[in-house]
Symmetry: C2
Subunit: 220 residues, 2 copies
């Protein structure tokens, strides 16, 4: 979708062309878009050709209505602006499944963690973590995790050693409820570790190198 066509579609929507036919001449539209009559006419032809709008010609002006395909595009755009300004209680990532070092299983089976997961997240994790490497471009968003208060899993002792504290956020991976765990004493990483009551690889039917969609939720 060319940016100028999107703007044109938005302008038509603002004039009420989503649910109704609106009566507008190319010169009026041109004035709204601050361009020439010829350009407005061309935009309408392009939108019509792309099946974004329907047109009817009267004796004088034309009747224009945005059809479902055009409305979809506007709604997607709206969603993006909501993501920027409204839905700051969540952040969206894309990533690729990678294999862990096997240590996820060791940690997620420690009683000291398990009881806290049960209490604070409401589930006992399936042993092991699913590791997802965040897409290069989305790594900028990782710092958002530092700015939001997490669900804190406290450090604890066994007779052998100390297990460090962990931060958690509720999350979805390909639409399935899960949580991410961020060890407090670890440096910045591009890999997120997921825990879930179920075996995610099986539940989601995913393997290494598969792409997944991730949503992370912040507490209010």
């Amino acid at each position: 979708m060319k940016p100028y066509l999107l703007q044109t579609l938005k302008e038509l929507a603002l004039l009420g062309a989503i649910k109704n036919k609106i009566e507008i001449s190319s010169i009026e539209l041109a004035k709204q878009l601050d361009t020439s009559q010829q350009t407005a006419s061309r935009y309408l032809l392009e939108l019509d050709k792309k099946n974004m709008i329907s047109r009817e010609f009267g004796i004088k002006k034309q009747l224009i209505q945005i059809n479902s395909q055009g409305e979809d595009i506007l709604q997607k755009e709206h969603l993006q602006y909501q993501q920027i300004f409204q839905l700051t209680n969540r952040v969206v990532f894309k990533g690729r499944v990678v294999s862990g070092m096997g240590e996820g299983r060791y940690y997620t089976e420690q009683d000291g963690y398990v009881t806290q997961f049960k209490q604070k997240l409401g589930f006992i994790p399936y042993p092991g973590t699913l590791n997802v490497e965040i897409e290069y471009i989305d790594r900028n968003k990782l710092r958002l995790l530092k700015n939001h208060s997490a669900i804190d899993i406290d450090e604890f002792q066994t007779k052998n050693r100390t297990f460090g504290g962990v931060k958690c956020f509720r999350a979805e991976i390909n639409g399935i409820d899960a949580a991410i765990v961020l060890p407090l004493r670890s440096h910045y990483s591009n890999i997120l570790e997921f825990i879930s009551p179920e075996f995610l690889r099986e539940k989601l039917n995913i393997n290494n190198d598969d792409f997944v969609n991730i949503v992370i939720f912040f507490n209010e």
Copy 2:
């Protein structure tokens, strides 16, 4: 604001560049925008020149943050999408003050109307109506008034004649509370008639041909 610069700004915002500096190379941005590295670089130069973003150059990539001017633009855009999809409980017009035929005063002083205005709108109107001719382009939105349920003022009889029913909507004119009255038995008009507890021409300090901003509210 050129449409493609707006799109670029939106993409940067989606990557988190509103509150944070994000680390992004021109080639990464190019991939997001589905264009070439050179074009992405040029867009960033243009945005910088227009003071929409701030840039810092590290050894490798650049750090980019959207500044307040850029954020304003995005917020205006967001507002427009909200107007399209969310704030359908209101509609916005621009118009020009015109003189009525003097009959507004006759009608707004009829007891049969006054008591209903008091009861259903909560105020006794200042005698007379303020007439506003709706901007040509905004006339498309007038039909929205037909699709929403109004505050109904019933018809009534005096010993001399029958006064017809009227539909009302709460409204604002240049930010001041008022209401519009639409006679049921009248054809489609490009002129809206306002009533208000106060003398609007004085209160708003407006004369014929002055432009006014109108918001009309629908019940819930």
